[in-house]
């Protein structure tokens, strides 16, 4: 399943990475090396094997429904690259 430059460009779009042609070429080559190496997995029969998504075999923890204010909201806003009042600002969407 080798990938080409067009595939790499599509993946970069999905990942919202503005890559140069040079980067796309390099990554295409390197991803192919890694995917080539990963090819070995095809040899392993996993038909009856359940996937392991978590190392922990338990049910998820649950919180009681209690509202508590986070004490440092200002600290969150302070990191904003652009903030107006208490809103984060982004350039136009369209």
């Amino acid at each position: 399943m080798a990938i080409n430059i067009a595939d790499a460009r599509h993946v970069a779009d999905l990942a919202r990475l503005d890559l140069t042609e040079q980067e796309l070429a390099t990554y295409t080559e390197q991803l192919n090396q890694i995917l080539d190496y990963a090819q070995e997995l095809e040899q392993v029969n996993t038909d009856k094997v359940e996937p392991t998504y978590h190392s922990v075999a338990a049910g998820t923890a649950l919180r009681e429904d209690k509202a508590v204010d986070f004490p440092n909201q200002a600290g969150i806003l302070r990191n904003g690259p652009e903030v107006s009042g208490t809103s984060f600002v982004v350039p136009r969407i369209l």
């Binding site: 779009d13 999905l14 919202r16 998504y53 978590h54 922990v56 338990a58 049910g59 998820t60 923890a61 649950l62 919180r63 009681e64 429904d65 209690k66 509202a67 508590v68 204010d69 986070f70 909201q73 969150i76 806003l77 107006s84 009042g85 208490t86 809103s87 984060f88 600002v89 982004v90 350039p91 136009r92 969407i93 369209l94």
Partner: protein
């Protein structure tokens, strides 16, 4: 000309009524200043982790039960990956393969008195995104910048996905009404579209009557009211018919409803093609729900609409259809219950006034009952005035509108407006005699056999008395004077 059948499935997102958010302890309170209910978790700070709100799960179970769904003992959260400025982690924690509830149905009352069963594919838990406020323009079009507010980010949502069982815009509307009613009865959500606590997307396709395969499906978004959903579907169905009539093919896509222009607009090109790359959320282990939890939720379940329908039929002898109409909106049913407790007369009288006059008014004005000034004691007071013949039913209809609008008491309106019914025989007889004298030609015709003209004299009398004459008395006097 090919006849087409319309196929509709709805995806309804409803907020769940919790105090804190789905994955953090921030308040869910609506209408706060921007970014005043935020923390590292709901703003996606590096290193922050989600922890599931137990109450959100209980409400989802409750809703699942009310929708006749199976509650899955094990469900799994998944990351839905896409970039948008209001989505802080650039993925939404949702459910994909294994939702919390699935395979349910609702019964829709149809106007002909029959019922239609609509399948519920699934109802799954997910977190809401933040809110964008566009600057420099009304909407996203033409905006120069946008402000991002994360107060709504991570508020719990339940997405209810219907089967493609709906066959018309009207049915879709009836289904929406029904779901809203269920959400309100189960007390899982306020379910109002105005505050964004209920949102709806529609999947619409058409196919020639008799064809088994579904047509190409179009998803419609940006419908801001129940009425908009109904209209948007009608418009989209017409559009698809025209496309097919022109020998073209319907394209699978997402279209946005433009209410002002009365059309749907393709969203292609405005949003990047989506590949959500769902995978199980590693930060949350599977959600396990045991029978005891479900049993507890069942036990705590409030009286649902269907139970109330049964109660109304049994306790008050109300028809099944009326009981359904009455219980469609929980606010209306609660109003009825309160009024029934206060009113000594036949409860069906309340039903008639509520289902015809009050609901008719709400529909015309596109209002919710809660947005009017009418209270149960006021309605009962007015009914009392009819019962003791202080006012006529006709006057009452006008009064009701005034009460709905102003919240004034019926008694006061009657006194201020001099609306008291004329029950004085002598006074009324004098008026009728004057009318007969003023219309000799009609009187002549009546006497020569055109007895239907009695109605004309009744009308004239009511007009002269501004509706205040007691109709039975007018009839009685006319019979005597015309004899």
């Amino acid at each position: 000309m090919t006849e087409y059948e319309t196929i509709i499935g709805l995806e309804i997102h409803t907020h769940l009524k919790t105090k804190s958010k789905m994955f953090c302890a921030c308040s869910t309170e609506f209408g706060q200043p921007p970014n005043s209910n935020i923390c590292p978790v709901c703003t996606g700070q590096p290193g922050a982790l989600p922890v599931l709100n137990k109450e959100a799960v209980s409400l989802a179970i409750r809703c699942g039960l009310a929708l006749n769904c199976t509650i899955n003992k094990k469900s799994v959260f998944a990351r839905k990956n896409y970039f948008y400025p209001d989505l802080p982690k650039a993925y939404q924690i949702s459910q994909f393969d294994l939702p919390i509830t699935q395979a349910g149905f609702v019964q829709l009352p149809l106007p002909d008195g029959t019922e239609k069963r609509v399948g519920i594919t699934r109802a799954h838990l997910e977190e809401d995104a933040g809110k964008l406020v566009h600057q420099g323009a009304e909407g996203i079009e033409g905006a120069t910048a946008s402000h991002v507010d994360f107060n709504r980010s991570s508020v719990p949502l339940l997405e209810i996905v219907s089967e493609p069982d709906l066959r018309s815009a009207e049915e879709a509307r009836a289904y929406l009404d029904k779901i809203k009613s269920i959400l309100q009865y189960a007390e899982v959500s306020e379910a109002n579209m105005e505050e964004g606590k209920l949102r709806c997307d529609a999947n619409v396709s058409i196919r020639p009557v008799g064809q088994k395969e579904f047509g190409v499906k179009v998803e419609i978004k940006n419908m801001n009211s129940f009425r908009a959903v109904e209209r948007a579907i009608k418009i989209e169905v017409e559009r698809q018919k025209q496309v097919l009539a022109a020998g073209q093919k319907v394209v699978q896509e997402t279209r946005s409803y433009d209410e002002a222009a009365g059309r749907t607009v393709s969203m292609r090109g405005k949003e990047e093609s989506h590949d959500y790359r769902y995978f199980p959320e590693p930060d949350l282990l599977p959600l396990l729900i045991d029978d005891a939890w479900v049993a507890q939720v069942k036990q705590d379940l409030p009286e649902l609409a269907e139970q109330r329908v049964k109660r109304y039929q049994e306790a008050y002898g109300i028809s099944a259809y009326d009981a359904r109409v009455l219980t469609l909106d929980k606010a209306v049913a609660d109003f009825f219950d309160a009024a029934a407790r206060l009113y000594g007369g036949d409860k069906k009288t309340i039903v008639n006034w509520l289902t015809t006059d009050v609901l008719g008014y709400l529909k015309n004005e596109n209002l919710e009952l809660g947005q009017t000034k009418l209270t149960p004691p006021q309605l009962v007071e007015m009914l009392g005035l009819i019962d003791n013949q202080t006012i006529s039913g006709k006057i009452a209809k006008d009064l009701l509108v005034k009460i709905l609008q102003t919240g004034a008491s019926a008694q006061k309106l009657v006194e201020q407006g001099g609306l008291r019914q004329i029950t004085d025989e002598g006074e009324l007889q004098k008026i009728i005699q004057e009318i007969l004298a003023a219309h000799p030609k009609q009187l002549e015709q009546y006497r020569s056999g055109k007895t239907a003209l009695k109605g004309y004299f009744v009308g004239e009398t009511m007009r002269r008395t501004k509706g205040q004459a007691s109709p039975p008395l007018v009839n009685q006097l006319l019979d005597r004077l015309l004899a």
